[in-house]
Every structure is written in structure tokens, then in C-alpha cells.
């Protein structure tokens, strides 16, 4: 265990743990758009910047992205000092210029008192902040269907050759975890469309309710050794089946006891 000080309070952290995890565990609200516990940290959004110092640094301090900084013994962290807030405001200012139409960015910027950008607004800008959560989650789940393509101004998130990705199973994890809800998808009763690929939803054999796509179910059953029949019935029908089976067993036991 490592002892550190965060905003004047002592906290304990595991060795090798990142600062942001410790900060979040203490319920201190540090904004971060590109952070997700399921994937490795990347440090793309720069909003989780904190000020760190040590007593032996003679008053010197430095600014680091807390999601990428492993804890060190006797570290003194301040998460909302004036300078840190100023850095965050500058980043929000830049985000507002690049993504003026994103409600999530606007709300976050308002919390830090940035109502209007001081830079030239990019009129045709989209809401993708290029944080890579979607691509990293896709990689972590083992699909590798989408990736960041291009450099600089032309950088985007896209499937290979901008065609319907063959490896995508339509699990929707990229779209549901996007911090700015940029990834478009349509989810109708029996069809799901994402990345220009159409998926058939796996309907419950009893009631017709849908949970996941057929391709995702086939992938799980093949690679994770789960019988495909498990996916063919929805959770509510599964519960009914369970209650009937357990009811039968209970009735037998009752008969046997009497």
C-alpha cells in the first residue's frame, strides 16, 4: 500500500494504481471523457489533469493526467487548484470551438464557467472528440472492428475502408459508451443498424422479445463455450421456465414429505 495526500486528506492506494482510480474512489469529481475502467488509460481528453508535488520538491509542482500517472509514495495531489481549473477551462474552450453542438461538452464546460469559446468556431465540426473509447472497447472485447484512421485534421473513427465492418457483431458497446453519443445507430424491433451494417436481432422463440443480435450470440456461443439454446429464449421467459421447473420440484418434495 502507498500513502498519498489528495486535497489535504490522506488516502491509501494500491501499488501501481493510477491516480484517477484513487480520486474516483474518494468520490472526488474530476472530469474525464476518455476514461473507462474496462480498457487501458490513454490520456486523450486531458481533462483529468491534476497538480502533483512532494515535500522534497521545494515548492515545485507539475501537472499530470491522473488517468496515466501511477501513484508514488508521499505524493501530494490537488485536484481543483486554481491552476488546474484554468488548464481545464482552456481545454473546454478548445473543445467548445471544435464541437460546438455537443450537449455533453457544453454541459461540462458550463460547470467550469466556460459558456462561449474564445476561438473561432468550427462550423462543420462533428461531435467526435477522438478519445478512442469506442475503438479501445472494441479491441478489449476482441472484435477489432473499428479503429482511428488518418492523422491530424482528417482523423476519424471508421471501420476498415469505410465499408460495413466484417468483424462487427452489433453489440453496440462502442455507441453506448461514447462520451458524446456521436456514434449513430438505429435499434428497431427486429433490426439493428450500426456502421452501415445491418444485423438481425435474435428473437425469443416464445415471446419474440429481442436482446442481442444473432451474430453476437453466435460469436459468444462459439468462442465462449455457451450453448446457443441459452440465447434463443429471452430473460423474462427464462425466469418463467425456472419458476415452473422449481415449482415442480417443490411439489414433488411436498408430496414425498407428506
Amino acid at each position: 500500500m502507498v500513502n498519498i495526500t489528495i486535497n489535504g486528506k490522506t488516502a491509501q492506494a494500491k501499488e501501481g494504481e493510477m491516480l484517477l482510480s484513487v480520486i474516483r474512489r474518494l468520490k472526488i469529481d474530476v472530469p474525464a471523457l476518455c476514461h473507462h475502467e474496462a480498457v487501458e488509460p490513454l490520456g486523450a481528453c486531458r481533462l483529468c489533469m491534476v497538480e502533483i508535488t512532494k515535500t522534497e520538491w521545494d515548492g515545485w509542482s507539475k501537472f499530470v493526467t491522473s488517468c496515466l500517472y501511477p501513484v508514488e509514495p508521499d505524493l501530494i495531489v490537488s485536484t481543483h487548484s486554481d491552476q488546474v481549473n484554468e488548464i481545464r477551462r482552456t481545454i473546454m474552450d478548445l473543445y467548445l470551438a471544435r464541437h460546438p453542438n455537443s450537449p455533453e461538452i457544453r454541459k461540462l464546460a458550463e460547470e467550469y464557467g466556460v459558456l462561449k469559446t474564445s476561438y473561432e468556431v468550427q462550423v462543420d465540426g462533428d461531435n467526435c472528440i477522438l478519445c478512442g473509447i469506442c475503438t479501445r472497447i472494441c479491441d478489449a472485447m476482441g472484435f477489432h472492428a473499428i479503429s482511428l484512421v488518418g492523422r491530424g485534421h482528417g482523423k476519424t473513427v471508421a471501420p476498415p475502408l469505410n465499408e460495413a465492418p466484417p468483424d462487427c457483431t452489433g453489440c453496440l458497446s462502442c455507441a453506448l459508451n461514447c462520451p458524446t453519443n456521436f456514434i449513430e445507430f438505429s435499434d428497431q424491433d427486429d433490426k439493428r443498424t450500426i456502421w452501415n451494417k445491418e444485423f438481425e436481432m435474435l428473437a425469443c422463440v416464445k415471446c419474440g422479445a429481442t436482446t442481442i443480435t444473432r451474430e453476437f450470440a453466435e460469436h459468444l456461443s462459439k468462442n465462449r463455450d455457451i450453448p446457443f439454446e441459452y440465447f434463443e429464449t429471452c430473460d423474462s421467459c427464462h425466469r418463467k421456465e425456472t419458476s415452473l421447473t422449481m415449482g415442480r420440484i417443490a411439489a414433488w418434495t411436498k408430496e414425498a414429505q407428506s
Partner: protein
Amino acid sequence: MKNRFIVNPVLCTGCRTCELACSFAHSVDGQMGRSRIYPLDGGMTDLWVPVTCLQCEEAACVKSCLVNALRRNPDTGAIELNEDICVKCMACIAACPFGCALHDTQHDLIIKCDLCGGDPACAKFCPTKALEYKPFETKKKKLAG
């Protein structure tokens, strides 16, 4: 000996106190969450079955989770979901053959029974002892002759 969660459907009256206790125990920001336990009709007169997670040895939900958000707690034996890691792909909901992984649509969370971290609220509030959390004892029968 470790405690076990014991369900005895014969004693269940279908009063749904367990549902209420579960919802309160798992409230999010002061709002009631979705219950993890469902007393359902057992298919016979006066028979109710409280359907809840069986914490399977070789669990389909754990196998289906591609980001390892579902892990077994070694102290309680319950499979617990780490909400920070969960990416809401719904694989566990589709995979569970007992239908005991659920989607809380109000709070947009995937939920499953975690035995309340070793002190299940449903068992505490069950008025007829249909749900109990106690060490499991098997009756020893003497062999005749």
C-alpha cells in the same frame, strides 16, 4: 461454515416483500432500483417460486462477459458485477439460462444478485422464512441394518 442462500418455495406466499427489500437495498441516488428477485407463479395453486440468481459454479454470465466485469466474490461466493467495467453489451442478460441478469432501464444499469455483499436484504425481510441465509446443513440418515 459459510452461509448459503436457501430458497424454499413451499413456504413462499407470494407477498413480494423480498422484491421491495431488494429494490430499497439497491437504490441508486435515493431512487429505488429494479428488484433482482422475482416471486413468480410456480404453475400450481398456492405455489410461488422466488426466482433469483443461483450463483452457478460454471456461470454462463461470467463466460459471456468479454470485458471480465463479472467476478466471483471469494468471501460470499456471489458473482458480482463491477459497474465501472461493464460496457452494457447485454451479453450476460441473453446468456443466463435462468433469466437472472437484468437490465434496469430506469437507471440504465445491468444488474444481478450480489447477495448484498454477504447480508441479503430479501432473506432478512422474508416473513415466512422461504428465503434464508444460513449455514447449509444436510440431514444425515442412518443406514438401517
